[in-house]
């Protein structure tokens, strides 16, 4: 399986039934009393592929399902439908025990460096935990302390930090601990869910530089979840744009930033503030807000906010289509470019 991608996701769906007691779900209308089963459709048919050493970013606004994609791939959630192939093996239906060896190949870094470290564990135990889970022999376990010292040094912490507790560290240092923990089992893929959005800008730059260095050094692949387009532009090789659980555009970074095709991508890029004065950039202003994932619009997910939307968008859901240079876009404007005027 040497030619298999580090990660390949095909037609991933993730739906969450909303719980609540019977009384919460009872509805009374003209036809009588019904029991509702509301379902949040968080991810609707997402496909993506990441090669060894590649960084793919998923961008989108809150509620677009990007974090759910990350957690489903990490198998924190069990997908409703679809394939998640890690090094060619579909792990979508794996149980806990089957996942254990897979977790040595795939690790996660979380957004909140305060909540993602156990406050009652020392740094050395935090970093050692995944490694000890994976170590079957006494000999392997004996090598753990040396490995931890190595890892801490690599992420820019020193040996005396190993005996301290998380509260003794700043946000940036804690994120370094989280990275060391993820690296401990030498994974090929790291899923990073907003790893720098809780950090100050000068610290954010340090962590982004560290993550890039580690990619070059270990040939790591990242699935990098972020809402910050300038961070994504800096770190990613390719970018997927998500809206309401759908992938609406997918392209190499330079293609996406130079020629965004989907109206939502174009609006996102034009809304991002910049310290450089704006050149005569296209400006697409979005009105309104994202609809609820409990009640998706018919046809195109974006039509309720899209300045171009016409009747076809309400009746027919656009499929992702290839527009050249490996760029795929889910928008009817590709078929009817004459409508692309504001």
């Amino acid at each position: 399986m040497t030619d298999a991608a580090v990660l390949e996701v095909r037609d991933l769906h993730m739906q969450f039934p909303i719980g609540g007691g019977i009384l919460d779900r009872l509805r009374l209308d003209r036809r009588g009393i019904r029991l509702e089963n509301p379902i949040v459709k968080a991810v609707n048919g997402v496909s993506l592929r990441i090669e060894r050493g590649e960084i793919m970013a998923l961008v989108g606004e809150s509620g677009c399902g990007k974090s759910t994609v990350a957690k489903t791939i990490a198998r924190i959630y069990k997908p409703t439908r679809g394939e998640v192939r890690i090094d060619g093996t579909d792990v979508a239906d794996f149980g806990y025990a089957q996942m254990l060896p897979v977790r040595a190949r795939m690790q996660m870094i979380f957004q909140d460096p305060y909540a993602s470290l156990n406050p009652r564990q020392r740094v050395r135990d935090i970093v050692a935990e995944p490694l000890l889970e994976q170590s079957k022999t006494a000999q392997m376990r004996a090598a753990v302390p040396d490995r931890i010292a190595q890892l801490l040094a690599r992420v820019g912490l020193n040996a005396e930090h190993a005996g301290r507790y998380p509260h003794q560290f700043s946000g940036g240092q804690r994120q370094r601990i989280g990275i060391a923990r993820a690296l401990s089992v030498t994974p090929g893929l790291i899923i990073a869910d907003e790893p720098v959005s809780a950090l100050d800008v000068s610290i954010q730059a340090q962590i982004l530089n560290l993550m890039k260095d580690l990619r070059d050094e270990f040939g790591l692949a990242y699935l990098f979840i972020s809402h910050d387009l300038s961070v994504v532009h800096h770190i990613a090789d390719k970018v997927g744009v998500m809206y309401l659980g759908f992938m609406v555009e997918n392209a190499a970074r330079d293609v996406l930033f130079a020629r965004p095709r989907h109206p939502y991508t174009r609006a996102l890029l034009s809304a991002a503030p910049s310290i450089k004065p704006k050149r005569d950039k296209e400006e697409i202003l979005l009105t309104g807000e994202v609809p609820s994932a409990l009640d998706l619009p018919s046809g195109c997910c974006f039509r309720t906010r899209c300045p171009f939307a016409w009747d076809r968008c309400a009746s027919e859901q656009p499929a992702l289509q290839d527009v050249g240079d490996g760029q795929t876009v889910a928008c009817h404007l590709i078929d009817e470019p004459e409508r692309d005027i504001l």
Partner: protein, 331 residues
């Protein structure tokens, strides 16, 4: 820093706000001075712990024990707010100076309707009759882009989305026609397309009413699009201030340069970001000399012994640095 022609609205002189905690005195704001002219937008930027929010709270007299304003003056059209009594401050808050907070969920009362919370401002700060107040609230809510305003006045905060809630907070802040709005990270909790809607709205409201604004944020990109002037704080001190474009394009202070270079920019591709090494020092045990010297690539022996003071630099900038950058120079 304001242009000579515009009259001064607010002048802060040598403001010191300290917090006396068990583990030592936190000099959160330690000698901050700036001016804002009428109709101007000033950006107050810096990283966490820079003291930018405390400056905002100090202006409104919202510093609680163990915090205290230890010294300095806050002159609103010449009257000092530091020495003013609570009665006078209560008149100032909401009517002359109002505030927009970061988190629109916690800055609205979940138990009262939006209409009641809006009406409260006018009830306290005007002599208008109930029906006139109601009409003013409807108009204000419409002007911040909320449709079916009369109906929405009866709704509770949880019935609004985050962006809509922030519109309500802005409507409340604008209701009594304040002269100054202090906006503390007003868009940090919002998505980027909503952020751009809210920023446009705030700019339009301010231009419309001729009000001034202090925009407190960690996001240099946001201030560079909104502010006329920028003041950069580091460890409770002003390290640099000046007109927005001059400061962004040719900053004199190495910290400002470092902040700007830390932001990835979509128009160019760098392999590595120019990071500022280290992190913000513990504000309870600041070293002698310049607070930034441990992280500064230009630091020399002088920086360890003598604290730099704000001094005029190129392009009308003011910077507190012994070895300031010249235009085009890199640290």
């Amino acid at each position: 820093m304001k242009d000579a022609a515009t009259p001064v609205l607010l002048e802060v002189r040598d403001l010191r706000t300290y917090f006396h905690t068990f583990s030592g005195t936190v000099r959160a704001v330690n000698g901050v001075s700036f001016e804002i002219g009428q109709g101007e937008v000033m950006g107050l930027v810096g990283e966490s712990g820079g003291g930018k929010s405390v400056v905002g709270f100090s202006i409104l007299g919202l510093i609680d024990s163990p915090g205290r304003i230890e010294g300095g003056e806050i002159l609103l059209e010449g009257r000092d707010l530091v020495t003013a009594g609570e009665d006078h401050l209560r008149d100032v808050r909401g009517r002359e100076i109002s505030m927009v907070f970061q988190d629109p969920m916690t800055s609205l009362n979940p138990l009262h309707t939006v209409g009641r919370q809006m009406d409260e401002v006018l009830r306290l700060h005007s002599d208008l009759r109930a029906d006139t107040r109601h009409r003013a609230c409807v108009e204000m809510l419409e002007s911040v882009g909320i449709s079916r305003a009369a109906e929405r006045l009866k709704a509770y905060p949880h019935q609004f989305s985050g962006g809509m809630r922030q519109r309500v907070v802005i409507a409340i802040a604008m209701l009594a026609n304040p002269k100054l709005i202090i906006a503390d990270e007003p868009t940090t909790a919002l998505d980027v397309t909503i952020q751009s809607q809210i920023l446009k709205l705030m700019r339009a409201q301010i231009a419309d009413k001729g009000a001034s604004m202090i925009l407190i944020t960690h996001d240099l990109a946001v201030v560079s699009e909104m502010a006329d002037h920028i003041t950069v704080l580091y460890c409770g001190n002003v390290v640099e201030r000046g007109r927005t474009r001059d400061l962004i394009e040719n900053p004199a202070h190495p910290y400002t340069r470092g902040l700007i270079d830390s932001i990835p920019d979509t128009s160019e591709r760098l392999d590595r970001l120019n990071q500022i090494p280290g992190s913000v020092p513990d504000i309870r045990t600041l070293p002698a000399g310049c607070n930034f010297r441990d992280r500064c690539p230009r630091a020399q022996a002088l920086c360890a012994t003598e604290e730099p003071v704000l001094a005029p630099q190129h392009n009308g900038l003011m910077a507190a640095c012994h070895f300031p950058l010249q235009p085009g120079e890199r640290p």
